[in-house]
Structure formats: C-alpha cells, structure tokens
C-alpha cells in the first residue's frame, strides 16, 4: 500500500509540469482515426468509371465507385496556374451537403487548360501544361500518378487508403444487411471522451487519402507541433494531429496537437520540392512512413554499395473527420516555387507596422496604470528600447473584453497618451469568449443578434473560461465578423486610441469544461457542426479583429493582431506565437523548429514567449532567450501571473547590459527585418527560414533546426545550451563566404565551424555577396528612429560583388499600396557600389541618409568618389582595417532615397 502511495505521489510530483496527456485524445480514442487507421494498405475498393469522364477546358470530372458498397464519388481535377494540381473528391450525391472550407483561399484559383493525351479502358493520361508533366488516372483500382518525364513525382491512393465515409441514415434495426462493410461500429453515431458525449448526428463522415512521394526522405510542415523541423515517421506511435487545442504545459518532441493547424506539408530532396495542401478544417491526423526510416547510416551505405537499394520513398496519409477531400498538389520544383504556389492560394504574410517588429514587453499582468508607467520608465532608466507594452486579461473589468478595470485602469486614455508621448504603443487582449452577463453590452448585443454558437439543442452554447460562464460568438458568420470589427471603432471600444492594438488568445476556442478543453463537436454554426469548422475558428477571430483595426482608422492604418490559434491563411491577419511554453532550455531550443515550420507554410510572423511563460527562468536562460528572440520575427517577452517579475533590469547590471545589447541588436537590424517583411508580403517566402530552403541541394542542411536564416543573408545560430562554451554552426554553400557580424571575421562555406562563446555571444553571420542596411542609432522606440541615417554593410563574395535592397515607407499605413515607398537596389560590382531605383513608379521621400558604408572583405583603395544624381562628385574619407579587410567609408551623406554611386579606386 505504501509503495502504491509513493508511486502515486511520484507520478503526481513528476507530472507537475508536464501536460496531462489524459486530457487529450490519442488516435485510438478518436473513433474516426481509429477506424481509418485500422485500414491497411492494399487493393483499393475504389474504381474510376471512365465512361463518366467529362473534360472541359478547366477541369476534369470523373465518378469513382466503391465496389464494396456501390457508393459513388465525384472526382474533380484542376490544373491551376503556377504548377499546381487540385484534386477534389466529394460524394456524388450526398444526403446533405458536406462542408467545403470557405474564406481560406484568397480567390477561386485560376485554372489552366488540361488536355487528354491518351485513353484506354485502364485509364487516361492528361497533360499538365507545358513542362512534360502528366497525370495518369488509373481506373482499377483508382489511383493518380503525377509524372514529369519518366519520374513519378507523387501518387495518390497508391496504397489504397482512399476512404470516404458517405453520409447515411441511422438504422436502429440490428442490421443483417447485404453490405456487410456498413456494419455499425462503436463511435460511428456517438462517442464519448472522459465525461463528454459527442452526439454525432450525421454519423460517420471521415475522409482519408494516401500520397506516395518517391525519392523523398524529408518532409516538413503541418504545424503546429512541438517537434523537430524534419517530421518523423509515425509508424510506432500516433499520427501528427491537427486540432486546435489549448494544451496546458505542452510537452516537447511529440505529435500532439497544439493551438493552431496548417494542413500543408512540404516534401524535399536534392532535386525537387513539392507540397500538399489538404484543405480541410476538421480534426485531422497525418501518418508518415518511410522505407528508409528504420535504416541505419551503415545500412543505407550497404544498400548503396550493393546497389540493392530500392528508391527511398515517403508515404503520407491524411485522415479528417468530416468535410471533403480538397487537396492542392504543389509541384515546385524549387522551395521558392512552393512558397509562391502556396501564396497564390492562401495569400502572403500581412505587412505589419514597422514598430511591431521591434521589442514587445508583456506580462500576465501589468497590474495597473502605475505599474505600466513604472515599467515604461524602467526601460528609459536602463536605456533599453521597447515599442509595445502588453496587457493581459486582468486589465479588463471582470474579464469582459473591450472594458477596463475601473480601479486599476481608471483612465486608459491617459495611460495611452503617456505612451504616445514616448512614441510607444500598447496591446490589450480581446479573447473570443464572452462573459454571460446581462449587464455587459457586448454579451447583450451578441445574444440579441443571435450571434452565439448554438449547442446541439439549439440554445446558446455556454462554456467555462476566464470570466466564468461564457458564450462563443460564431465567427464563421460574415455578419458576426462585421459586427465584431465595428466594436473596435474608437467610439465603441471605450478607452481605446490609435496606439492600442489587439491580442486574440484562447481562440482554439478554449473551453475549460469542454472535451479536450475545447468546444463540443456537436455545437452548431448555423447548419454546420463545430466538427466541420473547428480549426477555422481562431483564423476567423483574428480576421475579424484585424478588420476592426483597419476600419477604425478608416482603412488607413495597418493593423497588428496577435493570435494563438491559426489555420492556413492566418498569415494574412498578423502574428502568431507558440503559446504557453515554459522557462526551460528545451523550450528555447524548440522555438526554432516551431517557427521554421510555421514559416514554411506561409506564417512568417512567429515568435515564442521570451523567457518562457510557465516557471521562472534562470538568469542565463533568460539572457539566452533574449539573444535568440532578438533574431526571431516576433520578439516578445511574456510571463505567467505566478512567476516573479523579470523585467530586463532585475538581474543585476551585467545581465541588464547583456539583455540591452541583444535588444539593441534587434533595433539596429530593423531596416533589414522590415525589408524581409515587405518581401514576405510580396512573395510568401518565409522570413525565418531553414537552411535547406536556400541550399536545397545540400543534404547536410536538410535536418538542421538549431540554426536558421533570416532572409537569404543572415545566418543565426543562437546559443541554446546551458553553460555553453561554444556552438558548432554549419555554414552552408561551398562557394559562399560568411562574415561574423560582430568581429567581421571571414569564414568559408560548407563547413562546420566551432565558435567559442561567452554570455555576450550571439553567433550571427552575414553572407558574402549581400548588402544589409542597419540603423545604428538605437533610440527608445523604433518610431523615434524613423528619420535616422543608415549604415550599409556590404559583404563581398569571392567574386567581389554584393547586392541587397533598401525598402523605406512611412512604416505604418497602407499608403505603400498606393506606391508611396522607396525600393532601392544596392549593388557592388567592379568596385562600384550603386543605388538604383527598383520601383520607378513609386514615390516617397525620406529624411534618412547614408552615414556610413562598411565593406567586408575589401582591399584598400587609394581614393573613394561619390557620385550623386546631379553628376556631382565628391571625395569620401575612409578607414581601412587591414587585419580584417574592412573598409569603412565615412559619412558619404547622400539621401537614402536617391540614385548614387561610390567608386573605389
């Protein structure tokens, strides 16, 4: 007995900080996943009825029949512009419509003509446009193979795992039917988890499909999981799960679902990158297996030597609880093609206000106005810049969002004005759960307009969250979203001002007393069950909020909204963070693959709570986290209510200095960050990107996730080990040079470089061949630096050339869309550095000028001449550091927005 007690105690104590896995379903506990996963690869019961084929200019349709139950499906195949193939499968005649995800695609994707190449009784061959790409539709069993030349790029249903649970009437008679396959299993018409029942009025409705990727050993994406960048095989455990959940104290390195879901996977080998976008918002599980996964390096070598190796192949299988199969197959071939293909479907990263890229100071909670004022003053006193201070839920009047605690925040406008005077801003939280309280205007309006999600019996759905009993507005409704957006108007949101922005938390949605801490799947969004739309909820909350912030300024100002839950397309509405992490070294490490994975699927504006949300970081961990966060896109410190204060100056002058330096490095690089966001907004390319994206042919990069690139030109290997004396960074590219940004030391590419580190070290390298603009006059907020001059860092490659860009606009409005910006191409070639207008049709003027040019890897000139647009020439003074080959041009002084050239002689 005593030992049992001890054991129990041990479990309780050790479990204090880990996730309670029992609160969340395994595949086995999720009836449809269990059912679908029980299907093993084999002969598919589906057959294509070629006689039903219809080919128009834009699409091919074809019926499929399940020979076991004779249910027919309709296959639609589209060739989309930009090397994308769309495959849609729905029931030919469903009992009632099945959910198709709206609002995620930015438009109906434009198609390209498909043409028939050949046809016989076994199948058809279609041409996918010009690039010798074909799709082969095999009839019996049904499968699709996408080929280029003689290579199969991807096969669908090659393992026979296409499964489409058709909608059916519930039969209560003990069924002795002819169609034995349709026997009623547990969990088809109802299931329960812990104390929660799911009534499943529509019965089984799952869909599933397998994809084979010949030649592929590396797959990425499908965030959000606290796992490595390279996805693992799932044969010996659960599939990766996509189901937006508020996971308390999440565990690392496993496939459990987290706050957001982007059903996009990238597959990569040295020849090609492809992508799969599975457009389905229901609970989804993704299985990955590989024929090389089990093999050791030695085994692979043996295969190679003996020539007996089968081609490596990765097989993927997607399973969703409801909806239809709607999959976009992005055929690359390069990683950047994939980004542009995916961006053409779901849009690009929103272009945030410049200040949102600066440092954010958050805590649950800054207690009152005095507290805010003191923290603000603390930053000035310690000369640490910051742009945003954040208020968590305690700022409200009893967790009623859009209100302020009447005692602690009695005069919010006064407080906000205080920040305005420092050119700083604030974010206040607005969560989607609405306190059920007849004295609360927001609740009353939502209720009277019938905007709440309904429970299965037709009443307003109520769940338990921060305010106690709460309703959940139906953000899937456009009219609800329009109303919500209108609540951000200055005259509606009392106490709000232009420098108040918004944070949407708990939008999975989190329901404390719901199944798996979220909403019951049989709750109703109009005609649709919550089951169908679950993963979209957070996406819509952020969409409506961002729209509100745009509208309140009459469409002038760019919004800034942070969200915890997200879906494909969420990149269009703002930033995401990795949720409630912990002050542990492993959580610092995982922030890198988590944000890299998000970047690969379009969501570039990503960050993790600096310092860790739960628990209290050691000083060393806190400093290392600042150093890492300073080089990640969204840079915000945050802390749990129960943790001791950790403003940067509370850990002694030495650590204050280390943190100050990290934050200052961020501020000096803001011009580069801003330019990266502008690019991401144009192209959809990730800002924080894995090395393999830039070096797709170098297999050494394929699994690296302890270092990353910012854009193309900066490589960061943060120190994420406790007590580290050094880090080993892989510098990619055999023709590349990499310059240490702090010492200007030059290193060759394609090597593992050991870098000794001290507490002040942040290993960062600039790629030879690049030009990076910085502002070295760090001030107390980014807005204060608006008119400051630039220093250009020109890092020469072995060919002694370099190029870069400089983007400037007003930093906060949509006027850039009206061509009010400056975009310069900076290039160094043949000893001439020049600035050329890349956007001649754009117009903007800046007061900023070029105060310094630092050329890395240069030789000593005898004379440096500046030529400006008018043809005027002047000599520029310079200094040359022969030991490091660094040439510094002193105060050339030209305006940053004009044409100029500097000649080294």
């Amino acid at each position: 007995m005593a030992s049992v007690l001890l054991l129990w105690l041990a479990v309780c104590l050790s479990g204090t900080w880990a996730v309670d896995k029992g609160n969340f379903k395994t595949c086995d506990q999720s009836a449809f996943c269990k059912r679908q996963r029980a299907l093993k690869p084999g002969e598919s019961p589906y057959r294509a009825l070629l006689e039903t084929m219809e080919l128009t200019n834009t699409r091919l349709t074809l019926q499929l029949i399940n020979d076991n139950n004779k249910v027919r499906l309709l296959l639609e195949l589209y060739r989309l512009q930009g090397n994308i193939t769309r495959v849609k499968i729905n029931e030919l005649k469903p009992l009632k419509p099945r959910y198709e995800v709206p609002d995620v695609l930015i438009r109906e994707p434009p198609t390209e003509p498909l043409s028939l190449l050949s046809q016989d009784e076994n199948g058809v061959v279609l041409s996918l446009g010009a690039e010798s790409q074909r799709v082969i539709v095999s009839a019996r069993p049904f499968r699709l193979d996408i080929m280029e030349g003689r290579d199969v790029l991807m096969s669908l249903n090659s393992r026979g795992l296409l499964a489409f649970e058709h909608l059916r009437m519930r039969s209560f008679e003990p069924l002795r039917s002819k169609e034995e396959e349709e026997k009623v299993e547990d969990g088809m018409w109802e299931e329960s988890f812990k104390s929660h029942a799911d009534s499943k009025p529509s019965g089984p409705s799952a869909v599933s499909l397998d994809f084979s990727l010949p030649g592929v050993e590396h797959v990425y994406g499908i965030p959000e999981h606290a796992d490595t960048l390279r996805l693992k095989t799932t044969d010996n455990g659960d599939p990766y799960r996509l189901y937006n959940l508020d996971v308390f104290q999440y565990e690392l390195y496993n496939p459990m679902a987290l706050y957001g879901a982007v059903p996009v996977m990238l597959a990569h080998n040295a020849q090609r990158t492809t992508g799969i976008f599975w457009l389905n918002a229901a609970e989804t599980w993704v299985d990955i297996s590989s024929n090389t996964a089990g093999k050791t390096v030695f085994g692979k070598m043996l295969d190679y030597v003996q020539g007996s190796s089968e081609t490596p192949q990765t097989d993927v299988r997607w399973i969703s609880e409801s909806g239809i199969i709607d999959v976009f197959i992005m055929l690359g071939p390069t990683p950047k093609d994939i980004f542009s293909q995916y961006a053409s479907l779901t849009g690009t990263q929103s272009f945030p206000p410049l200040s949102a890229l600066a440092y954010h100071q958050c805590r649950w909670n800054y207690n009152d106005q005095k507290d805010v004022q003191e923290v603000d003053a603390g930053f000035d006193e310690h000369d640490i810049p910051y742009d945003f201070i954040w208020l968590d839920i305690e700022h409200t009047d009893g967790k009623r969002y859009f209100t302020w605690d009447p005692h602690k925040f009695a005069s919010p406008k006064e407080m906000l004005q205080g920040l305005v005077e420092k050119k700083r801003k604030m974010v206040a939280i607005v969560d989607p759960h609405i306190k059920v309280d007849s004295n609360y205007k927001i609740h009353n309006e939502i209720r009277s307009k019938g905007f709440y999600i309904k429970n299965k019996d037709g009443g307003d759905y109520e769940g338990w969250c921060w305010p106690g009993s709460a309703g959940y507005p139906d953000f899937t409704r456009a009219d609800m979203r329009a109303w919500w957006a209108s609540m951000f108007a200055y005259d509606q949101y009392e106490g709000s001002m232009e420098n108040l922005y918004t944070w949407n938390d708990m939008n999975e949605p989190s329901v404390f007393n719901g199944p798996e801490v979220t909403m019951h799947k049989d709750a109703m969004h109009g005609a649709w069950e919550h089951r169908d739309v679950h993963n979209l909820y957070g996406f819509y909350v952020q969409m409506a909020t961002a729209e509100g912030l745009i509208q309140r300024s009459g469409g002038v100002e760019r919004p800034f909204v942070l969200t915890r839950a997200f879906f494909a397309g969420s990149q269009r509405y703002g930033a995401v963070w990795t949720g409630d992490n912990a002050a542990e070294w492993d959580h610092l490490k995982i922030s890198i693959p988590m944000c890299l994975s998000l970047g690969l699927v379009g969501i570039s504006f990503c960050g993790a709570d600096v310092g860790g949300f739960f628990k209290s970081p050691s000083t060393e961990l806190l400093v290392r986290w600042y150093q890492t966060g300073a080089y990640q896109p969204f840079f915000r410190a945050h802390a749990h209510l129960d943790t001791p204060r950790r403003e940067p100056w509370l850990f002694g002058p030495e650590n204050t200095a280390l943190i100050r330096e990290a934050v200052r490095q961020r501020y000096t690089l803001l011009p580069y960050w801003y330019q990266q966001f502008y690019q991401a907004h144009q192209t959809g390319e990730p800002i924080m990107r894995p090395l393999w994206v830039e070096y797709p042919q170098d297999p050494a990069t394929f699994a690296i996730d302890d270092e990353f690139l910012i854009g193309r030109d900066l490589l960061v290997h943060p120190v994420t080990e406790e007590g580290a004396r050094g880090v080993t960074a892989y510098l990619p590219g055999k023709d590349e040079l990499w310059f240490d940004v702090h010492t200007f030391q030059k290193h060759n590419g394609a090597q593992n470089l050991y870098i000794p580190v001290t507490m002040s070290s942040i290993p960062v390298f600039q790629r030879g061949g690049s030009i990076i603009p910085r502002k070295l006059r760090v001030r107390r907020s980014s807005t204060c630096m608006e008119h400051d001059p630039y220093t250009l860092y020109v890092a020469l490659n072995p060919q002694r050339t370099a190029e870069g860009e400089l983007y400037i606009d007003d930093g906060h409005t949509f006027n850039y869309e009206k061509k009010e910006f400056i975009l310069r191409k900076l290039s160094f070639t043949k000893n001439i550095l020049s600035s050329v207008n890349m956007a001649p049709d754009a117009q903007f003027s800046t007061r900023s000028w070029i105060e310094r040019i630092i050329i890395l890897g240069a030789s000593k000139p005898s004379k440096v001449t500046l030529k400006t647009a008018g043809g005027q020439e002047s000599q520029v003074e310079f200094e040359f550091d022969a030991s490091m080959s660094v040439l510094t041009l002193r105060k050339p002084g030209m305006n940053a927005g004009v044409d100029w050239s500097v000649t080294l002689q």
């Binding site: 207690n367 000369d383 001791p644 001030r779 105060e851």
Partner: protein
C-alpha cells in the same frame, strides 16, 4: 560647426546673458577639452580629429565624446543646462527624437518637436517640494533623536533586566541544585512508589508546565509588546513550521482556560509571583528542567530584543511590538515591524501571512531603507509569500501603500521618522543650480 554655436548663442541670449561658448551638449566642466579651431582629442585619448568633426553628426570617437550634441554616437551623452532647474545628462539617443527630455528644450533642436521650456516651473515646483521635504525631514529628524534617546534608555533598562534575570537564574539554579540534593536524599525511599504514578503524572505535568511557562513570561516584568512577537511563541515549535501562524495562538488560549481549572496554579493577576516559589513547586514534581527552560526563555527573549538590529541609534526600536494597518478596497494589510506582515480580506475570509521578519535589505549605503519579510504562506505553484517594506522619511509612522508587483511578492511603502536624515544633506548639489 560654427552655425551651431551661433544657434546656441542666439537661443541662449534670451535665457541668459552669461552663456559660455562651447559646443552643443558639453557641460561647463568639460568646456576646456573643446577648444574652437584646435584639434580635438577624444576624451578617452583614443584619437585626435579636426575640430570641425566635433558635433558633425558622425561618430569618430569610440567613447562618443566628439558628438556631445548629436545622436551620432551610440554611447554618447548630452548635457542640458536646464537654467532654472537642475542640469542633466541624457543619452545621445534622445537628441532630436521628437520627445522633449530637457526642460530647456535644448535636446530637440532639429526634430520639429514643439517643446516648451518648463525649467522655471519645474524648478519652483521642485523647490517647493524640497522645502516641504526639508520641513518633514527636520521635524522627522527631531523625532528620530527622541526615538534614539528612548531606545537608548529602553535598551539600558532591558540590559539591566537581563542581568537581573540572569542573576536570579543563576541563583535559582544554585538553589535548585541544593534542593535537588536534599530532595533526592529525602525521596529515595519513595521512588519506587512514585514511579508507579509517574506516567499518569507526566501527561498532566506537561500541561501544567506549559501553562506555567506562559505565566512566567507575563509575570517576569518583561515589557511585553501588544502582540507577542512570533518568534517567542514559536520557540518550542519546530522552525520549519512556517505557515501555522494563525493557529499558534490557539494553544495558548486553551491553556489560559486550563489554568483557571487548576487550583494550585498561581493567580493570573499576581505579578509578584516568585519564580522561586514556582521552582520549588516544580521541585516537588521532579521537573526542574522545565523550570530552567522557562528562565532560559525569559533570557533569550530579552537577549533577542536587545540583539535586534534596530538601526545605528536603535531608532527603529519603537516599532518593535507595534502594528500598522492599511485598508484598501479589498484587504486590510497589517505590518508588525520586526515580526510579520499579513493581509486579511475586508469582507470575511482568513488572514494570510505575507512574511515574517527576515532582514534589512537596503543597498549598501542605505541598508535601513528596506525591510524584507519572508517565508509567508506558500502560493500555488509559486514561492512563499514575501514582502519588501520600503521606508521613507515622514513625521508619522504610517503604511502608505501596498502592491503586489509579482504574484506573492508584496511591496509596502512605510513612512517613519526613524529614516529621516539631517536636513542639510538634502541639498548635496545645491551649488550646481547656479551654473549659469
């Protein structure tokens, strides 16, 4: 750059006719290093540059000394004269950032910020506050002298008492020893018979002895504080038992009740109860060790109070044994200096211990400005509650405010004359005011 001089000069004319020419942002004390027309050597000696590169908006010196008046150097500082108020240095990064930092507006000479010169206003406001503070300090300091006097005599009294008790303790111990010898001789024949009853006795005796011990404390003529400091009552309790404070009072009360039931117990009101008499009674019960413990306790109690760090002149001694309350909208906070801090909900609910006296934690040059109370009631998934008390000079002894900057870490502002400094020392840089 001479036009900057001119500008400075022009600006200054309105303010003061005796402005001394020097580059923008240079304090008067460093004027000699910036000689117009002569090469400038960075103040760290690192290099020498032509004078026209001083304040030319490009950073040449690593120490930032060539750009005292621009934002070009990341580590520079700018001097505002602030005529009428107090001169100040601001980081160079605040020059021309659109935010008015210097009350004389000199930091925003090229940003378009519409700054108003507020130095006179600030100066007179400051002087007013200074005057007020000086008055408070003056009175407070007088009070502090009184406190020191009182503490001094109090301390002497206590020391005398301690000596007295120590003597009587010694005396008693001697007597005890003698009596024990007598007793042992006398009781030897009875011993066997007695042992038969011993077990029954012991239970009762423990009770008795405890109650007696309480009486001795209250009768021993120790200047008992209103509230018995926690340490005293806690003494018999294991040290690690930190959360039990409220409950600790209970046994004592129960004992008081029990006392009245005991016929042979001394009368509560009898202040002249002789420890000797009690000791004799104990002797009869063969429990002399308990008696010794009691006297030890009296001694230690006195010793403890004497040994408390009540400040250089024991000026904080008057707080010992007192409690001060502050009522907020939700809670009543109670500070009992050198003992504990607690919080009680205004509308029902039990009291929470926010920490017991720990130590003085002010900075080295002002150790007595902060008190730390530690090891209060534990927080869920958090630390034990603790409170920092910030002491400021005031005529009265009052809790001004409380807050909880971090969960379970409280901050209390407390005024007392005991921290008041001699008034003159409030104007250390009075002469600086008249730089112009």
């Amino acid at each position: 750059m001479s036009y900057q001089y001119l500008l400075l000069l022009l600006l200054s004319l309105g303010v003061s006719a005796v402005e001394v020419q020097r580059p923008r942002g240079v304090p008067l004390s460093k004027r000699q290093f910036y000689e117009e027309g002569k090469p400038f050597t960075c103040l760290d000696g690192s290099r020498t540059i032509p004078f026209d590169r001083v304040n030319d908006d490009y950073c040449d010196c690593e120490d930032g000394s060539d750009e005292p008046g621009t934002a070009a150097c990341p580590n520079g500082s700018f001097h505002c004269t602030n005529a009428g108020f107090r001169p100040a240095f601001i980081p160079s990064s605040r020059i021309n950032d659109g935010i008015c930092d210097c009350c004389d507006t000199t930091d925003e000479y090229n940003s378009g910020a519409a700054c108003q010169n507020t130095c006179r206003e600030l100066g007179s406001k400051e002087r007013e506050i200074m005057k007020e503070m000086a008055e408070i300090a003056k009175e407070g300091f007088l009070l502090k002298q009184q406190l020191i006097q009182e503490a001094k005599s109090g301390l002497e009294e206590k020391k005398a008492k301690l000596a007295e008790v120590q003597v009587s303790k010694k005396d008693l111990e001697d007597k005890l020893e003698a009596l024990r010898t007598v007793k042992e001789t006398a009781e030897q024949p009875e011993k066997e018979a007695k042992e038969r009853h011993l077990k029954a006795w012991e239970g009762k005796l423990k009770f008795e002895s405890l109650s007696t011990f309480t009486i001795i404390i209250s009768n021993a003529d120790i200047p008992a504080p209103v509230e018995t400091p926690q340490e005293e009552t806690r003494e018999p309790v294991p040290e690690n038992d930190s959360e039990q404070y409220p409950e600790e009072d209970i046994p004592e009360e129960e004992e008081d009740d029990d006392e009245e039931d005991e016929d042979e117990d001394p009368d509560d009101g009898d202040y002249k109860v002789s420890p000797v008499r009690i000791s004799i009674r104990f002797m009869k019960d063969d429990h002399e060790f308990l008696f010794n413990l009691d006297l030890h306790f009296v001694c230690r109690n006195l010793e403890k109070e004497i040994s408390f760090d009540f400040g250089p002149g024991a000026e904080f001694a008057y707080l010992y044994g007192q409690c001060y309350e502050l009522s907020t909208s939700e809670y009543i906070y109670r500070l009992c200096p050198f003992n504990r801090v607690s919080q009680k909900p205004k509308y029902g609910g039990s009291e929470t211990n926010l920490g017991s006296w720990g130590k003085w934690t002010g900075p080295e040059d002002n150790v007595y400005s902060l008190m730390k109370y530690e090891h209060g009631t534990g927080c869920w998934q958090g630390p034990n509650r603790s409170t920092t008390v910030k002491l400021t000079c005031g005529k009265e002894t009052v809790v001004l405010s409380t807050s909880e900057p971090s969960r379970c870490e409280y901050l209390m502002e407390f005024t007392t004359p005991a921290v008041c400094q001699e008034p003159q020392s409030l104007y250390p840089d009075a002469h600086d005011h008249t730089e112009l």
